[in-house]
Symmetry: C2
Subunit: 227 residues, 2 copies
DNA sequence: TTGGCTAATATGTCTAGACATAATCCCAAG
DNA sequence: CTTGGGATTATGTCTAGACATATTAGCCAA
């Protein structure tokens, strides 16, 4: 008892119970330390995590106040597709449909911050769950920043190889709803126009832009996040 | 320099440079503290944040090792729709289309963990950005856990009122792509069948399930996340 | 060989005190 | 009345040392 997690919980309780309403200044670390009978560092640990969570806002000299509009953050764990499928209790498989070197289209180079027309590796992969189309992956890889030798992407999916072989530093994801085009229709066995949940992802590594990928998910797919 | 953030950065550098490859055991806190000339608590602070970020895995007695499959997490900041629209430089407005008490449908009560047929407040709100349909919000509210008096939802959107008046504890979001139905077609001026990005959210407060909401976004909408 | 106990060990947390840093308050000079 | 310093103050971080706790390696007995 009276560990930093207990103090965090008690402070959170008072905030949620509106003992300390949004915008209110809460007692200083010294005062809380005395109240709870612990060292100031312990209170600091508790309040620091609450500040990271966006529940309170802290400023030197000005003190700590309850956030007016607590920013609600949800976390998405970006899955390796194979593990995602296996976790659903389905058999995983994939087919490499295309693999060639080509100058990347402008939208891709633009998002990755590479010169127009850079030669890149283009891969098109169909991921299967229980034998049925699950995700159509369209990927452009920047060969410049990849460690050699490159693997046989027909044997290991690019998705998985990248995670284990390249240090990924930052990136972004965008979700959109798009109608299935003729390509998705043919490859995934869908009526063109069917709504698909599409994730577009750019990824940067320690040595620069690594990859741009578009994942078109089979109809009905849900992307789930907790907060 | 040699603050905990510098130590964090240096450890991260060694991991990304593969000086310490995935799965490798890294030196203990005591050893690192000596190497960097700081107290063990400082190293601990640095490594703790790296563990939270999923870069390393720590176990008592067993030591600290570099994560094999670093879980990549993306963070989504759940916006108040009005602020989201204003941030895009567009004028915000909304219309309350429906407001009534009714027994909630089974999928809603099931997700919220409430008894079947519970009477709930149903609200349908169309959010406008620059005068054009932006999001169609379909919401079921649990009146049991809301503070009174309830506001006039024609004057303040439920979205915004909840954030400032109810302490929200946890919840989940799911994104899907769905074809526009006749209702969305009529209200948002779309051809039925148009792909829409739909977010479904359940929210729990300190006193229990608060609300279930479905947000159907106008075509072209992108939900953006960084990692 | 196997199961369970014990001791060793790395991380987790706490304390008390110190100095650093950023923001604010307040007063004096213009 | 405005503005520029300085004093004040709350948080941020660090240290050195201590005890707590989880986990494992090794040992011993069934």
């Amino acid at each position: 008892m009276n560990g930093w997690e207990d103090i965090r919980a008690e402070v959170l309780r008072r905030i949620r119970a509106r003992d300390w309403p949004p915008g209110a200044l809460i007692p200083g670390e010294e005062a809380l330390a005395e109240e709870f009978g612990v060292a100031r560092a312990t209170v600091n640990r508790a309040l620091t995590t609450l500040a990271e969570a966006g529940v309170i806002e802290r400023k030197k000299r000005a003190g700590t106040r309850v956030a007016e509009l607590p920013v609600r953050r949800a976390r998405l764990e970006i899955p390796v597709i194979r593990l995602d499928v296996v976790a659903r209790g389905l058999a995983y498989d994939f087919k490499l449909l295309e693999d060639r070197l080509a100058p990347a289209p402008v939208p891709v180079t633009a998002r990755l911050g590479l010169p127009e027309g850079s030669p890149m590796r283009y891969l098109e992969t169909l991921h299967l769950a229980g034998g049925r189309p699950y995700v159509l992956e369209t990927r452009w890889l920047n060969p410049e920043v990849l460690p050699s030798p490159l693997p046989d992407f027909a044997a290991i999916s690019a998705n998985e190889w990248l995670v284990t072989h390249v240090s990924l530093v930052s990136g972004d994801i965008a979700f959109t709803a798009e109608p299935a085009g003729p390509r998705e229709g043919k490859v995934m066995g869908l009526t063109p126009g069917t709504p698909l949940l599409v994730a577009e992802r750019t990824t940067h590594g320690i040595a620069g832009a690594v990859t741009w990928v578009r994942l078109a998910h089979a109809p009905g797919h849900r992307v789930h996040m907790l907060f």
